[in-house]
Subunit: 299 residues, 4 copies
């Protein structure tokens, strides 16, 4: 990591040293917000931003994200967690409480098309994407020069569907050794095994080069061209074991017209893919996403 | 038709009394543009706007739309057509040459959801959609009051899949009696028979309430909600015999999020449907559309 | 009011008969959310949607909007208000607590350009804009036929800058007689006196036909054309005594290009103005707006 | 220049070796298109794409861009130019005729904010921006490491308003030595002298961090925040001697809301600035821009 990026991360951590994030999911019932905010009040936490959502005020599910400021952070982060357990249990919550100063360890998987990887590295370098990028893994060598110019480790692990098992073993070992929190598939064109996916529930983010559910699978731009659509798009989503069927995080589109060839669509698509993936990754890194059934709540 | 609209149409016809539109489709080869523009030049026509497109400069198809201004219009419209035949034959063209002052006779088919019908009538009334609306046909009576408040004939022809044949006979007779040029399906929820469609090739425009090819068929908003998409859309297209598979004219989208219920999606969808249909209809009325295979060229 | 609209409003009121809305603005300090949510909990109110915002967690201003569901509504609406006073006083709040079933009495002011008026009436008629429209006031007769076709009272009050005082006296009397809550200036081209504005603080919504602060004042499309911009826009805002300088509620834009004449910009502008005004009015009607200094908080 | 980029440029030049571009500006009169297309036809040129625009069909100005394919290119490029002179003179045209395979020599001026520079280098490296980047010039050293990682020459020329004259002399010498065609100001925060601007008419492209004409001058995001706008934007334009008043090439916007601080606006603004500048530069490099009065025609 070069010194400029280190400086960016240090200044981020300084700025957010007293900032915590509480994410909650539980059956809705009266009194949840009241209990949570009393808890925060008691622990000198001032609410900076709060979002909540209920699928149905009568017997629905309740979701909340609170960003708060407390002088007890970062020292008492684990103490706060310990104490919050009581409320969590009382309301049958799934919850996390973490300091914003914890930077997520990130691995990027790439292949031959490098625009998404470049975008992530560029945003990271300019301090607009706060992640601890530990490695870039690729089945090709195309990204090597780029990655090493950012002083990041590059792992070339050739892959194809016949050696998927061995390849993933290598990858899993790497991810484990580096205690990776998030895996970003930046146009990594290999399918992952159910075992690999199961080992990282809602921690793998992929970019698909169409507005799903249109053009699931291969060659979306070619098929978009054949169908004569007037919009093309891209979708970032969590990876599950159903190809291109995981919870959608973000989507966007761009207008196209009859003059645009398949190659034009690909070129225009790149700029949507870049931004749709980068936004999705940032929201994940900022703990703004909660998965519910096959959907995301974006707070 | 009320007097305000009559005045709008008269002033439109006065403004465009010397304006002609030439649409061409033919195998590409050198010399087409040169021959066409010489022809126009010879007949005192000044080109106002010209658009062309070639699928491939080597042996592709060539498309062109020219809007021109000539003092010989409107008197010599048919003379110009007669004379253009030679060039048309020489280059093996499919072509039309018409005065912009010819207003298309239009029928709107509606059902119970009236937002698209309202939009068309409103745009028409304000002089932003230049059509000669001859009638509104519906299988329900919901639109009657609205349509008659615009002094337009309303035909209530109840329909369902069991009496499709008889219903269409009545409709076809009406369309024939009024020499209708364009049929707009403004959320008319009945499927048309192949015979009905074949009688009006690329003259029937439909609005589908999703960004096709996603969510073909019924209940797109319910399915969009289940899939957890972050965008919803609408598509206007020519009707062919493959449901929701005809040439796409226009599409647009709107951002949605996890808080939006199916009803919210429907409500938001209405405003996209209105504008996507109105734009598509206007382009058709202005002879801006050429169909090629299953796509539209929008000039 | 016709029966269809009456039915829409009845069904809205039935659906939201237990729904209340609480809006708060006060100096930020720990414990506000906790106190408010405890209060709601105590009065059997379940939070449906909650939004908050703090200008600065340390000594900033705090804003909150809560939509809640309580079986005590509508009967005990004034009781709840009475009881909330204690909390309001304790935290030095500016606040309102109202049932969502209260429909706002609305007056629309129009002139010769009718597209915004048409949009509001159309949305109202289809049940997408829930207001109790009491009248349309205009300084011209152009809108008369349209307004009366919706069975709404139309008041023609000719106006110009020389008789502003007398005109406003007539208007103020009408607004008072009908206990009007909101005034929508739907391209009403007259300037209001400071007295008129002062009598309706943050209750008058205007649409300006540019993206403010560009092209303040007259003829924005002509000036946009001269400047050669690639985007045109519209802005809905609360009216204050500084022309086009009031708190912005909503803005949107559309792409234009060199081919578009001033008339084209006006035509395209109409469709942005329509939707930007309609969105702004809806947010106001749903109590989603809080004014702070010269800005709006949109919850 | 690294080998990957050299390869991209070589393959671009191979692909477009027979492609020419003709740009025309002249008083409109009948017969122009006819004469031009006959000329192309005679020289075995097939029209790939053609765009034209007339300010007014009667005595207006006429603009045209034709992209054509001819086997006589690249060998006879200057011959074609020589022969076209006759038509150019006949119609009093300002015109250029060039092969698309000529790559423009480009200089980028940067300062401390590097996002626009990064975007241009990234697009260039991926073969999406075809330029012959000869140098990056900056008044600070922040960009040095980045630029040199792309194997490009970096010139550090400290600048301030007191030494403007000497600084520009150095810069002008560099630009002359390298025969620079285009200068891109990628958030270069220094004002250029009238002499510098006059030496490069419509060859200097700047990015301004607001949607002009709103927020001309310094600190647009701070002023946007104070005004409470709901959209922020960016504008790429040719540099003239009126600050932020040159012909606008491209603009775009992004939605913001009350929660966004000045720093948030800056951060969001960066991503608009990047893409608006890159699009503007690409259009210039592809000879898609004609300046007319203070506007651009974008073909």
């Amino acid at each position: 990591m070069n010194s400029y990026i280190q400086e960016q991360i240090r200044s981020y951590q300084e700025k957010y040293k007293h900032t915590g994030r509480l994410l909650i999911k539980c059956p809705d019932q009266p009194g949840i917000v009241s209990a949570v905010t009393q808890f925060l009040h008691k622990h000198e936490a001032n609410i900076i931003e709060s979002n909540q959502y209920t699928t149905d005020p009568h017997n629905g599910l309740f979701f909340m994200r609170i960003e708060f400021d407390s002088p007890r952070l970062p020292q008492e982060e684990s103490v706060l967690r310990e104490k919050f357990k009581e409320i969590g249990d009382q309301f049958n919550m799934t919850w996390t409480l973490k300091g914003a100063y914890n930077i997520k360890k990130t691995a990027i998987f790439a292949s031959k098309e490098l625009h998404c990887l470049r975008e992530l590295l560029l945003e990271w370098q300019s301090g607009d994407l706060i992640a601890d990028i530990q490695m870039v893994v690729s089945n090709h060598e195309d990204a090597k020069e780029l990655v090493e110019s950012f002083n990041l480790p590059f792992y070339h692990i050739p892959a194809n569907k016949h050696i998927r098992k061995q390849v993933e073993e290598q990858q899993l070992q790497l991810l484990k050794d580096h205690e990776i929190d998030v895996i970003v598939l930046a146009r990594y064109m290999q399918i992952l095994t159910p075992e690999f996916v199961a080992a990282h529930p809602f921690k793998i983010i992929n970019i698909h080069h169409s507005f799903l559910p249109a053009f699931i699978g291969a060659n979306p731009h070619k098929r978009a061209h054949e169908r004569g659509v007037k919009l093309i798009g891209a979708t970032s989503h969590y990876v599950t074991n159903d190809l291109d069927e995981g919870p959608i995080i973000e989507q966007d589109i761009m207008r196209v017209d009859h003059r645009d060839s398949v190659d034009d669509l690909k070129k225009m698509g790149r700029s949507i893919e870049r931004s749709v993936l980068a936004r999705g990754v940032k929201w994940h890194l900022e703990d703004r996403l909660i998965v519910h059934e096959n959907k995301t709540i974006v707070f």
